[in-house]
């Protein structure tokens, strides 16, 4: 039931995200036409582009942008051909269009669309092609900067350590007592996730995987909720494809490492299937091994990113129409979606954990049911 709902939700959000991205492309081209007369900045000032704004908001960033006046710069850490390069993101002076050049170790760096590019040897300014892609600069792949999302990961980790260590302190005191204080809040959820593991993983094996599932659940939940707190720069950590890729990879690796003969038997010799169908079924099953973690990755990414995009888009109604009166529509809708997003925060954490438990359970199963 829940699975079906989440799939419907995922489809809806994907449709929405695609719609928004198309809108963004359309306006992008529109803007380029005007570029002859005015600079891009002026164009943005003149015409508020909601789609671009929303997408930009969902991206990672090199700074915590609370308001235009309150911006916390973050350290940029790059691994280049000439070794490690570090500087604060404030050196770009909030430039995001590749204009401001930072020079380190004889290399020139610019920030363009929330990515750091290194200018090619001899270039003094970024040149763009018709598609507005830089032609004489390349993206830095080994970019270990402590970006907004990276810092959020640390914040989530610290929050989790604080919450669960103080909860654990209650239990370490010993004796049989009803949970109180923070333990009273934490225990039902911990037991809930533990039960999810117990239900999906055969026998006593769940005990081996429960710590991973618990950590994943609360990591996603805390990340989701942290992104929903207004005025905290709304980091879209769990809506970042990098993080969902990472988490899905963990589940996939655990699945592969602990997989038993029974699991592979189901793939290469599906029971109860005529041998004639093997050529069709086996490739499907093999694809399924990879589709499952991919679905995990996309589901969480799409749900959380879509939530962020919807919230920003609804707020943007005011700015698109350039009238505060639209707040009468925009604010209640945003409030509604934000509340829904709290539900989604829990739901997606649950679904990711439950499916991870299911996949791991399938891999470690030794007997038929």
């Amino acid at each position: 039931m829940i699975l079906k709902n989440s799939m419907v939700l995922s489809v809806l959000t994907l449709v929405f995200a695609v719609g928004v991205s198309f809108g963004s492309h359309a306006s992008h081209h529109e803007m380029e036409g005007n570029e002859l007369a005015e600079t891009t900045e002026e164009a943005i000032e003149k015409e508020f582009n909601a789609a671009e704004h929303a997408l930009h908001h969902a991206l990672d960033s090199y700074e915590f942008h609370f308001t235009d006046d309150i911006v916390i710069p973050l350290p940029v850490i790059l691994w280049t051909d000439n070794g490690l390069v570090t500087f604060m993101s404030s050196e770009f002076h909030h430039d995001n269009d590749g204009h401001h050049i930072v020079e380190r170790k004889g290399m020139k760096f610019v920030k363009f669309h929330e990515k750091i590019y290194q200018l090619e040897e001899g270039a003094t300014a970024v040149a763009f092609d018709e598609e507005h892609h830089p032609t004489n600069a390349h993206k830095i792949i080994l970019d270990f900067s402590l970006t907004k999302n990276a810092v959020t990961i640390f914040m989530v980790a610290i929050l989790m350590l604080l919450v669960f260590f103080s909860a654990a302190r209650f239990y370490k005191k010993g004796g049989v007592r009803a949970p109180r204080g923070i333990a009273g809040w934490v225990e039902p959820v911990v037991l809930f996730v533990n039960d999810v593991a117990k239900e999906n993983i055969e026998g006593d094996k769940y005990k081996k995987f429960a710590p991973y599932l618990l950590t994943v659940f609360f990591f996603i939940l805390f990340g989701n909720l942290l992104g929903l707190i207004p005025f905290l720069a709304n980091p879209n950590m769990t809506g970042s494809i990098s993080i969902t890729l990472l988490l899905a990879m963990f589940t996939f690796i655990i699945q592969m490492v602990y997989s038993r003969k029974n699991f592979w038997g189901h793939i290469f010799a599906p029971p109860g299937v005529p041998v004639v169908l093997y050529p069709i079924l086996i490739p499907i099953e093999i694809a399924g091994i990879f589709i499952k973690p991919a679905a995990l990755m996309i589901r969480l990414f799409a749900n959380i990113t879509a939530g962020h995009i919807i919230v920003v888009s609804l707020i943007s109604i005011i700015f698109v129409n350039q009238s505060a009166a639209w707040a009468g529509l925009s604010v209640p809708m945003t409030l509604f979606i934000s509340t829904l997003e709290i539900l989604v925060a829990f739901l997606q954490a649950y679904i990711f954990t439950m499916l991870s438990a299911l996949f791991i359970g399938m891999a470690v199963e030794t007997s038929h049911h």
């Binding site: 991205s21 997408l55 969902a58 991206l59 990672d60 850490i77 669309h113 929330e114 990515k115 792949i141 080994l142 970019d143 270990f144 900067s145 402590l146 970006t147 999302n149 990276a150 990961i153 640390f154 980790a157 989790m160 350590l161 669960f164 260590f165 909860a167 654990a168 239990y171 370490k172 049989v176 333990a183 934490v186 225990e187 911990v190 037991l191 533990n194 429960a210 710590p211 991973y212 618990l214 950590t215 990591f219 970042s240 494809i241 990098s242 993080i243 890729l245 990472l246 988490l247 963990f250 990414f301 990113t305």
Partner: protein, 164 residues
């Protein structure tokens, strides 16, 4: 599109932090929490079992108590009955004894009376005999005052002896 392009930095930091977090939480949070909850579950189960057992025992004990009470009550009734019997027996015994005693006293009294009566009669007889002898003496003295009469008597007595 940027939004679906994974970034090396985030994967690196995410992986590093997540693995450290997993190790720390598994050791210092999940283990104690789940361990304590398991312990508690076991304790609660044991307590419930014990309660059930105690209830059963209480039931048995109650039944036993009831039986004991019943027995005690029966015993008490028996005792009261016995006491009553003993009491009435004692009263009867006392009555019988008293009667016996009274009879004894009566018999004694009667015997004494008889003895006294016999004594009195015998004394009376002695007295009467003495009086009779005195009277007889006086009569004889007067009869034998004359000599002829003495001779007649002696003669008569002699005759009587001869006849025999």
């Amino acid at each position: 599109m940027d939004i679906v392009t994974p970034a090396v930095g985030q994967i690196f930091w995410g992986g590093l932090v997540f693995l450290i977090l997993l190790v720390l939480l598994a050791k210092f949070a999940w283990k104690p929490i789940l361990g304590a909850v398991n312990d508690r579950e076991r304790t609660i189960n044991e307590s419930l079992e014990l309660a059930e057992k105690t209830k059963e025992e209480m039931k048995n004990l109650q039944a036993e108590n009831e039986a004991l009470l019943k027995e005690a009550r029966a015993e008490r009734d028996q005792m009261i009955k016995d006491a009553k019997e003993i009491a009435s027996k004692m009263v009867n015994d006392a009555k019988d004894k008293a009667k016996e005693e009274a009879n004894k006293v009566l018999v004694n009294a009667r015997e004494t009376i008889n003895t006294e009566k016999a004594a009195a009669i015998s004394e009376l007889k002695t007295q009467v005999a003495a009086f009779s002898i005195e009277i007889a003496e006086k009569v004889v003295r007067r009869e034998l005052a004359a000599d002829d009469k003495q001779a007649a008597l002696a003669k008569k007595l002699a005759e009587e002896i001869n006849l025999n």
